[in-house]
């Protein structure tokens, strides 16, 4: 089987910081892979390592079957990169940006012109194509940046947090563009902090935390892997959170910021009744309590002990450096 990505024991250390701490990951071609993790998890470092911009400290990495350490130039022929920030030149027009990148990908003049036009069309920027990029909105710049990674028709697209910082409409437009690309057969590897984004776009989700793979599989597989339903408790007063956990037993976890307590269960209805009774006995006022199928949020919480939005500990609370 053709592989998009094969990483074994991949490490990248910056002094004491282990940005990648022995990452193992194998994903076949023909997929959209979402690398999901909180801030500081090592997503950008992984993308940069795949894109040959960062040299791993240890481990092996093959991208579309090519060893990155030995044949970086060949890897560069096969990838298109859209980094964490839109890397387009504000003083050029959209069309000029795309033509330049197309030329550098190896197109001759005529082909570069055609590729730029096709990409502008595809990204919904045909009308803005001759305007300076400094007049574009954030969403348009992101789409142009995505377009610039496409003009060379690469086998693998690398997108680092493509929708971070976008308003919901731009986000949706970008999702549609990515889905469209995947439907045309381009492999896509994107990183995200958003579970809904991973759930919507990806065939395979790889959850990473502290530079390591925590779990991987399809969204459904991950949910099944958790294997259990979830009791969700919303307390009326935040001050009751700890008491609610005490009442529910050692498996209960507080979801900080949401005033919620979360409890995985195996015997759904029975345990729900028990939980209601326990909380009632403790005299804790509730907003809501319910039993539901696990979401990716629950998976993440169960696997890492924290939610995607909330950074825990030292490594992840640092500012991310590209």
């Amino acid at each position: 089987m053709e592989m998009m990505i094969e990483a074994e024991g991949l490490r990248k250390e910056y002094g004491d910081v282990k940005a990648l701490a022995g990452l193992d990951l194998a994903v076949p071609s023909g997929k959209v892979l979402a690398v999901l993790g909180p801030n500081g998890a090592g997503k950008t470092t992984l993308i940069r390592t795949i894109a040959t911009l960062t040299r791993p400290t240890a481990g092996t990495l093959r991208v579309v079957g090519i060893d990155v350490a030995h044949h970086p130039k060949q890897v560069r022929r096969s990838i298109g990169l859209a980094g964490q920030y839109a890397a387009v030149e504000p003083a050029l027009t959209g069309r000029e940006n795309l033509r330049m990148v197309a030329r550098l990908f190896g197109h001759d003049r005529a082909a570069a012109r055609a590729a730029a036009d096709a990409v502008l069309e595809q990204m919904g920027l045909a009308e803005a194509g001759d305007r300076l990029v400094r007049t574009y909105s954030g969403g348009m710049q992101r789409r142009l940046d995505l377009g610039a990674s496409l003009v060379g028709a690469p086998r693998l697209l690398l997108l680092d947090e493509p929708t971070t910082g976008l308003d919901p409409r731009s986000r949706n437009e970008l999702w549609l563009a990515i889905e469209d690309l995947a439907a045309r057969g381009t492999d896509v590897l994107l990183t995200t902090q958003y579970l809904d984004e991973a759930d919507r776009l990806a065939d395979i989700i790889a959850i990473i935390d502290h530079g390591k793979l925590v779990a991987s599989g399809t969204g459904d597989e991950l949910k099944t892997q958790l294997g259990r339903d979830v009791i969700d408790v919303s307390v009326k007063h935040d001050g009751d959170l700890q008491r609610a956990v005490d009442a529910l037993g050692p498996e209960a976890t507080v979801e900080v910021g949401n005033s919620r307590v979360w409890l995985p269960v195996t015997r759904g209805a029975d345990e729900l009744i028990a939980a209601v009774q326990a909380l009632g006995a403790a005299g804790i006022p509730l907003d809501d309590i319910g039993l539901r199928r696990p979401t990716l949020d629950d998976v993440f919480l169960a696997l890492t002990g924290h939610t995607t939005e909330q950074a825990d500990g030292d490594a992840s609370s640092g500012t991310s450096i590209r």
Binding site: L53, A86, V101, A118
Partner: protein, 267 residues
């Protein structure tokens, strides 16, 4: 919708260099902070020296305006270069260099393209400065051949210095830091023969001024524009300054091209 075809070849070295040079030159010319300020700065200082400070400076054997304008054109390379290194730092910070590094193109061609664009800007600013020089009374004593040669030399110096500024832009880490580093142009231009004769400087300062590249380049330019004999008043004949400046340009390139290559591909 048209399908985008994959390219059958990778871009050649020359295609890469000229594509990136064209893009960079466009960017610089369309960014008033770089091109506009370089010109305004150069012209403003030229006027100051000509009409405010110049009266107090005597140069044996040459009218001060004739002495000054070639000094300004050549030392302008350093001031324009400061802006160029800020632009490099911006391109690094905005991720544009990351994209370049992820493309199947030769590193050296990207850096060469950048240097060609920056050097073109430096020569262009030099040309504008020279024209303003004519307006304020500068008069040449030269022939077409020497004038063309003077501009070839200017382009050579500019190209060598473009790698210095490109390197500073790459290692500075931010546009602000690059801006800070560009202050280096001040001591290098003032402790040279660019604005005043070095004979008046105290011993150690004079020794530095005599040896440093800008003095060779400025004096070579003066010789070519004002007639070869003028350089004798600075101590040596024209050939000495021309050869010396070319050796300096080669030495600068020899050091800074590899440094820039290394910091470009630092990972």
């Amino acid at each position: 919708m048209t399908a985008i075809l994959a390219p059958t070849h990778t871009a050649s070295w020359t295609t890469t260099a000229f594509t990136f040079a064209a893009r960079t030159l466009r960017k610089l010319l369309r960014t008033p902070q770089v091109f506009g300020i370089a010109i305004v700065q150069s012209v403003l200082f030229l006027l100051m020296f000509r009409y405010v400070i110049g009266g107090a400076i005597g140069v044996p054997g040459v009218a001060y305006v004739d002495f000054l304008v070639p000094g300004f054109v050549v030392s302008g390379i350093l001031f324009t270069g400061g802006g160029a290194s800020v632009a490099v730092a911006e391109d690094v910070a905005s991720g544009q260099y990351d994209r370049m590094r992820s493309l199947p193109i030769p590193d050296s061609a990207v850096l060469a393209g950048r240097a060609i664009a920056d050097a073109s800007l430096m020569v262009l600013v030099g040309l504008v400065t020279l024209i303003v020089g004519f307006v304020i009374g500068f008069r040449m004593n030269t022939n077409a051949g020497d004038l063309v040669f003077a501009f070839v030399l200017l382009a050579v110096y500019a190209l060598a210095f473009a790698f210095v500024f490109g390197y500073l832009g790459l290692v500075s880490g931010s546009a602000q830091a690059a801006q800070g580093l560009s202050i280096l142009a001040v001591p290098f231009s003032f402790i040279s023969s660019a604005f005043v004769p070095i004979a008046t400087m105290p011993g150690p300062v004079q020794a530095f001024a005599k040896a440093q590249p800008l003095t060779f380049m400025v004096n070579a330019w003066r010789g070519l524009l004002l007639g070869g004999n003028v350089t004798r008043t600075f101590g040596h004949n024209l050939g000495y300054y021309v050869v010396g400046s070319l050796l300096w340009a080669a030495a600068i390139a020899l050091v800074f091209v590899p440094l820039a290559m290394r910091s470009y591909r630092k990972r």
